[in-house]
Amino acid sequence: MDVSRPCGVFDTFYSKDIAVVRTKTQWAWLVMGITLSFLIPPFLNIHWLGWVIETSIVIVAVLGLYFVTGLCGQISLGQAGFMAVGAYSTTILMNQLSFSYWLTLPISALITGIVVLIFGIPSLRVKGFYLAMATLSSQFLILWMITHPPFNRWTGGVDGLTTPAPTISGIVFDSYHLWFFIVIIFMWLMIFFAKNIGRTRVGRAFVAIRDSDLAAEVLGINIFGYKLLSFFIAGIYAGIAGSLFAPYITRIAAENFNLEKSIWYLGMLIVGGSGSVVGAILGVVFIRLLLQLTTILGPSIHPIPIVGPLLANYLGGLVFGLVIILFLIFEPRGLNHRWVIFKAWYRLHPFSY
């Protein structure tokens, strides 16, 4: 995949060979990107700031899916349900036990990871479609448990819960402008971890299982252990995403985390290109931009005779379904593949060989 690196870059040390960021230009881009991402808030109105925050949170959730589906090759249809566990445990810990947010975040990530582990147990004996069914079931079971007894005593049932504004070292994060910074810091951290876990022994074991689980077993990889580990990591990511989501939305309810959301997350990953971190990010941004576009375009489609009023309300779902189908038929490797092709073209230009 990494066919072309910038001209004149030679690895004279092993440390250089395994570096993620290779050249000074890449360092410059990275630092600039991170710095710019922190300077966003003053330039956006509240609507778009909310969009950026939610996109960053979804990126974290989809990165969790990237481990299970992208690297380990197991379809997960429960990421939104797992996110619900993170969001609810955050709120309950803060509300009832009045934990500080710093303590709440890791604890709820851990709780989510453990819950996901329980639902990952069927992966002991099954894979592929069967495992997709197990995650689908977990999605429904989790949401049902949240809204029904005995858990509804703590979760508020279908009405949901109100999350208090977290206080971190004296600052009350009660507005989008403040919460933005926490979210964006965690997003960069989680991207960093995702990028690196993919390159470790664990990540390579995931890829081996994805490509051929029998061959991986012959190589001495403990398939069940690593599959569970991939679910656990996905759970940690979902937990953190949920934990960031709860104070953002302030009022969490089960409908924020329904099956549709899980399917959307999977679709984002597929459209972006399931096997890469960049793909996951591109997919989330692309689909969420499309969604924004459809909500903006919806009213203007409305006046078109006959089809207009019919399509206007459901434009988002229509576009999403079409995009997934078209991408899988025409570009199964996703946006990321296009990006790689573009980079290769740029580097080789004007000699296209």
Binding site: Y314, G321, L328
Partner: protein, 294 residues
Amino acid sequence: MGFFLQLVLSGVMLGSVYSLVALGFVAIYKSSGVINFAQGHLLAAGAFILWIFWGVLGLPLWIGLLLAVLSSAFLGVIIEYSTIRPMTGQPLMAIIVVTIGLAALLDSLMPSVFGGEEKAYPLIFPSGGLRIWQLIISYEYLFSFLTALGMVGIFLYFFHRTKLGLLMRAVADGHDSARSCGIRVGIIFRWTWAIAAVSAMIGGFLLGSIESVSISMTSIGLRVFPVVILGGLQSIMGCIIAGPIVGVLEVLAHGYADPITEGGAGDVMPYVIILLTLIFKPHGIFGEEIIERI
């Protein structure tokens, strides 16, 4: 005791409809190995199509049914041709996600075409029901049960006694061997999709006449999954038996657990069945355990 028997009876009748819908799913899976996540959406689409012919245009039921069968078969063929065929040779995961995308598309397309509100079929059944001993069977349920039973019989006859059915079983046995016998595998795939759409449409008709026709029928379509997983993905016999089991357990959960859990126990029961089956007998009652070779 009467309450229990009543629940079991209506569970069996509901489950027979699940069996019918699952039959189409298994037909697709057996012949082409495709997992169809949109089976529930085919069900809802068929129910809506019939509603157009029967409820809106006011055609007699049998003409409406005939037209609905033809048009949903056509819909199945179109879906196969436009989304599944281009995916030939792709990994299973990609094909599963395509059908998920299809489900998402139909999820939005159907309410935008047919409108979001609930529809009702014209009333053909008298209210009340058949009384046997202490049990009351409403006519809708009885009709659904008998129709589903009849359709399952027709499908079994079709698979085992007709030429097309024989060709389908040949394709299910192995694509290469079927091809070497001169069977055009692609056309058989198209036929299986047509059959799946028709079985889903009949299921939609039956469920629609029990309750009402709406987009939420797609979630009833998700009941196909516990049925095929409990029965075994490759087994037609399995899904005929597992359908009533799932139906009975669901109705029992509705009857007995709902008061304790304040509702919803019946809706979540199928997923409990899925999880338990996957943990204890992953390949279902009649499913074949696939032994892989590298």
